[in-house]
């Protein structure tokens, strides 16, 4: 059973990351790919505060706050770049966060990471079993999906989409493109930091290798595979990417073959999707762009 809970936790937490990425790319048309950075900061801040016996809810809040104060000022400069340049800048941001975590052993434990993170305790509820974490992450995913849904069909979502389509036209309508984009990045960063805050105490042990650039790229691939602008799509994309390695685990192949086979399967799957449904699994159908 714990194995199923583990899969649930992974799908839900990556689902939260994917929805944040989807807000930026699917609606705002921003190739800002730094979900791993916010995820890492959320996880580390919660782990450190939990090790110092700071209450769980404060740790989660602190994680979001630190992630926002560190990442949003940098992001607000970076989002002036367009397209691929923004991608490169945001990946650099991920790498900066990872290597900082790796090279400040006095604070973050460096490459050894943080061990024996105590279970998350939110007010009177102590999350100690995988079941509890599964429940909490489902709750988080539902909340984030709901917010995503509300935002997408709100005046803000309409404006975010407009700025993604034609920045100059939006500017000529008197809107501040930067303000709109910073708000979207802030929302994505907060949700990713909260996901990180659940991830760290669930795993009990975290180290910088769990938060590399590849995590960000993986989230990006999940969003694209699922379909831009679609909630169902993002969750489907996440499920595919989490479940495929698990299937190969049951096939009983030796690790030396399973790992490269997994990569091949991913590559094949991406090509297949791009060939058959270029707009992603739920790309077109979930995208009527009608209001509300």
């Amino acid at each position: 059973m714990d194995y199923l809970y583990h899969i649930t936790v992974l799908i839900c937490l990556y689902g939260v990351l994917a929805l944040g990425q989807n807000l930026l790319l699917g609606i705002g048309n921003m190739l800002f790919v730094a979900q791993a950075a916010a995820f890492a900061i959320g996880a580390y801040v919660l782990a450190l505060s939990a090790l110092k016996a700071i209450p769980g809810y404060l740790g989660l809040l602190l994680g979001s706050a630190v992630a926002v104060t560190l990442l949003v000022p940098l992001a607000s400069v970076a989002i002036r770049l367009k397209g691929d340049y923004l991608l490169v800048a945001s990946l650099a941001l991920c790498e900066v966060v990872r290597s900082t975590l790796n090279n400040t052993p006095t604070l973050t434990g460096g490459a050894q990471g943080l061990m024996a993170i105590p279970p998350l305790k939110i007010f009177r509820f102590q999350l100690s079993l995988p079941l509890h974490y599964a429940f909490a992450s489902i709750l988080l995913l539902i909340t984030v999906s709901w917010i995503y849904h509300l935002v997408r069909f709100s005046p803000y979502g309409r404006l975010l989409q407009a700025t993604g389509e034609d920045q100059d036209a939006a500017r000529a309508l008197g809107r501040s493109v930067r303000q709109v984009r910073v708000a979207a990045v802030t929302a994505a960063v907060i949700s990713a930091a909260l996901a990180g805050g659940l991830y760290a105490p669930y795993l009990v042990y975290i180290d910088p290798t769990q938060f590399t650039i590849w995590e960000s790229v993986l989230v990006l691939a999940m969003v694209i595979l699922g379909g831009l602008g679609s909630i169902r799509g993002s969750i489907a994309g996440v499920s595919v990417f989490i479940l495929i390695p698990e299937i190969s685990r049951f096939a009983g192949l030796p690790a030396g073959i399973a790992a490269p086979l997994r990569q091949i399967a991913f590559g094949f799957l991406l090509l297949l999707i791009l060939r058959v449904r270029p707009s992603g699994i739920f790309g077109k159908s979930d995208r009527p762009w009608l209001t509300y």
Binding site: L150, S154, A169, A172, G174, W289, T291
Partner: protein, 262 residues
């Protein structure tokens, strides 16, 4: 209201505008006419902040505007359209008009979570306004269509509807009736422009279509592209003349502008 004095603009070696002056008055529809390459669109770009003049400046209510940008133009309620419609193609017709209405206070991220009822009411209001606007332009049935799926003519109409919805004081229209539009719609657009001007606003229209010019213009500014009489100077943007639409001389000038060759 809006005026431009001694405007000159060159692109590389080509002088697009030579010393052009223009005055827009409230309640008036001015038309800027002339052949291709005469600098009509360049003039419109400068008046709406999309381009900066090399010389001369733009004045609003007699005060010079130091550096006009599209943002500042929006704040000063100067609205312009482009000859190729500049609309958000992935958004619905309704969304395009909603954005044009510029109800910015409802566009905060937080308000999409906390002020849902208010936003819904706002949407109903905009919906009513949109429907009546689109009904006049005979595209009311397309309210929920994605703008990119409209035909070229319908996109043009949507662009015009957005310009009206923006609640400007000065309207600069670049070829509002170019392309294939039924003649009823043409006269309908003419009437709507007239109504807008009669409310005390001013309008500048860049247009080729002479029947349309005749139906709406109060004054006509004629630009020409090359004048051999001016020794050594070629390019566009010479003012050939300016006059009332009721005077025969103005129309002669307009004829002449198409015949001027280097």
């Amino acid at each position: 209201m809006l005026s431009a004095i001694h405007i000159a603009r060159s692109f590389g070696g080509v002088q697009a505008l030579h010393d052009v002056s223009l005055f827009l008055e409230p309640g008036n529809v001015a038309v800027c006419a002339g052949p291709n390459g005469a600098g009509k669109t360049t003039l419109l770009n400068i008046l709406s902040g999309w381009d900066q003049p090399d010389q001369g400046s733009v004045y609003l209510e007699g005060k010079p505007i130091a550096r006009l940008t599209p943002e500042i133009a929006h704040r000063l309620r100067i609205v312009r359209t482009f000859s190729t419609p500049r609309i958000f193609r992935n958004l619905s017709v309704f969304d395009n008009i909603y954005l044009a209405c510029a109800i910015t206070h409802s566009e905060r991220f937080i308000s999409s979570l906390l002020r849902r009822r208010y936003n819904r009411e706002l949407k109903e209001q905009v919906r009513l306004k949109t429907t009546s606007l689109l009904e006049e332009l005979a595209i009311a049935d397309k309210v929920d269509t994605v703008a990119g799926n409209l035909s070229g003519g319908q996109q043009k109409l949507l662009d015009f509807a957005c310009a009206l919805a923006r609640n400007g004081k000065i309207l600069l229209l670049d070829e509002p009736v170019s392309g294939r539009l039924p003649s009823q719609l043409r006269s309908c657009i003419g009437e709507m422009i007239r109504q807008f001007a009669d409310a005390g606003n001013s309008v500048l229209v860049v247009e080729h279509n002479r029947d349309f010019i005749r139906s709406i213009a109060d004054r006509i500014l004629v630009l020409a592209s090359r004048i051999s009489r001016v020794a050594g100077e070629t390019g566009g943007g010479f003012v050939l003349g300016e006059g009332r639409a009721t005077e025969a001389r103005t129309w002669q000038l307009l004829e002449e502008s198409y015949n001027v060759r280097a």
